[in-house]
Symmetry: C2
Subunit: 233 residues, 2 copies
DNA sequence: CGGTTCATGTCGCAC
DNA sequence: GTGCGACGTGAACCG
């Protein structure tokens, strides 16, 4: 189920990769390569030693020395390997967009193939998690807050938690699991404005942003729009 | 400069990885592993065959069968390998946050080490590129537009292009290289509001969003705020 | 399939 | 270091 080659040379590396992917395996190549990308933007990398990962879903990743994100990548299209003399080409074409990634190897030091797992993770601590907490303890939003619905639709998009305050006013709550900036404040403002426009003209609508922290610019933005922030956890 | 082992077993794999990283190399492992992450959120993966990439900057990536993004990762902290009997642990601790990733291998099929490149890419077609085009041909924004400054500071953040319209009004331009949604419209609105507040009360301030495309919701949002959209490219 | 939002987003840059 | 916005963002969810 797992195979590998050391210093396979261009031709054997190409055959190895082609065969392995034909068997539904993931392929990993290590070698000297350069990349070019054209489509949504143009980007190219000079020759250098990198690792290429070609997954069963035809995602192709090229990783260099640093960073979480690949130096080059392709996904959602078709992939072809081709050995032309002393160069190995991996050509990736995206069906819909005009995206095209080409990886040109001039040497392959190592090749490996394996059958990778595809399992869903167990997760918690996300925004959905925070929603549970707010529904279990609505006073987090404000004292006396009564939640009515989650993901209530408005013309501006869905409000995370929708309910009524102790004074009967409509309250729209936007939840963020992390420190929030101006974008989150604007998001809440869009929802509140949409509700004010949609509900009866005399309806009182408030907006509360619930998050562990907020930046200063976002705080001012909320204040300028009559919205409030409620820290959590 | 490149090394590899097939079916090294736990102990040899641990020593191999440790040595290679000590020499400043990147390490790639393929084997049966499970992961747990705790910190900004909690997330765990069941045991399965995956590939782990441990980069010279101590970024650790765990990739499964699908997707551009890793199934688990860590970066910006310290990494330690440890072999305890029949299990190999890769423990990653982030210095600042409480982030901690643990990868537990119960088998290692392949190990490879190499000295990866770290080159900056050549890029074009980005937002900076669009700015050049607008400055070269300001009529893209609106007929008679005269750019004055780029990245002009406002209390809400920097305006991409700042200038005057044919009528003498202040014009704030927000550039996007791709299809824009409500967030971009709100961003422009924040800048325009900040300018209206900062400039003389009688100053006429307009806002123009320049992008290849716009969603319907964003278009309505612009209209509701008296802002305009100008398609490009 | 398109639109919108979430993400352990990551990454770069300026203050 | 923090804040802010771009990114070939990717990925899920919902109409």
């Amino acid at each position: 189920m797992t195979r590998a080659l050391s210093s396979p040379g261009i031709d054997r590396a190409a055959a190895f990769a082609s065969d392995a992917r034909g068997d539904g395996l993931a392929v990993s190549l290590v070698g000297e390569c350069a990349t070019t990308f054209e489509g949504r933007a143009e980007r190219s990398l000079p020759a250098g030693v990198r690792t290429l990962l070609w997954k069963p879903d035809d995602t192709v990743l090229v990783h260099g020395a640093t960073g979480r994100d690949p130096d080059a990548w392709a996904s959602g299209g078709s992939v072809a390997v081709e050995a032309t003399g002393d160069e190995l080409f991996v050509r990736c074409d995206s069906g819909d967009a005009a995206d095209a990634l080409t990886v040109r190897f001039t040497a392959v030091q190592h090749a490996a193939a394996f059958d990778p797992a595809d399992d869903d993770p167990e997760a918690s601590g996300t925004e959905a998690d925070l929603k549970e907490r707010v529904l279990a303890d609505p006073d987090i939003v404000e004292p006396g807050f009564q939640p009515r619905t989650t993901e209530r639709e408005t013309p501006a998009g869905p409000v995370d938690v929708y309910g009524r305050g102790r004074d009967g006013a409509v309250v729209a709550v936007e939840l963020k699991a992390r420190r929030v900036g101006p974008a989150a404040a604007s998001q809440l403002e869009r929802y509140v404005n949409a509700l004010r426009r949609d509900l009866h003209a005399d309806a009182d609508v408030r907006g509360v942003l619930v998050a562990p922290e907020i930046t200063e610019k976002a705080r001012r933005l909320l204040a300028a729009n009559g919205l409030s922030f409620s820290p959590v956890e």
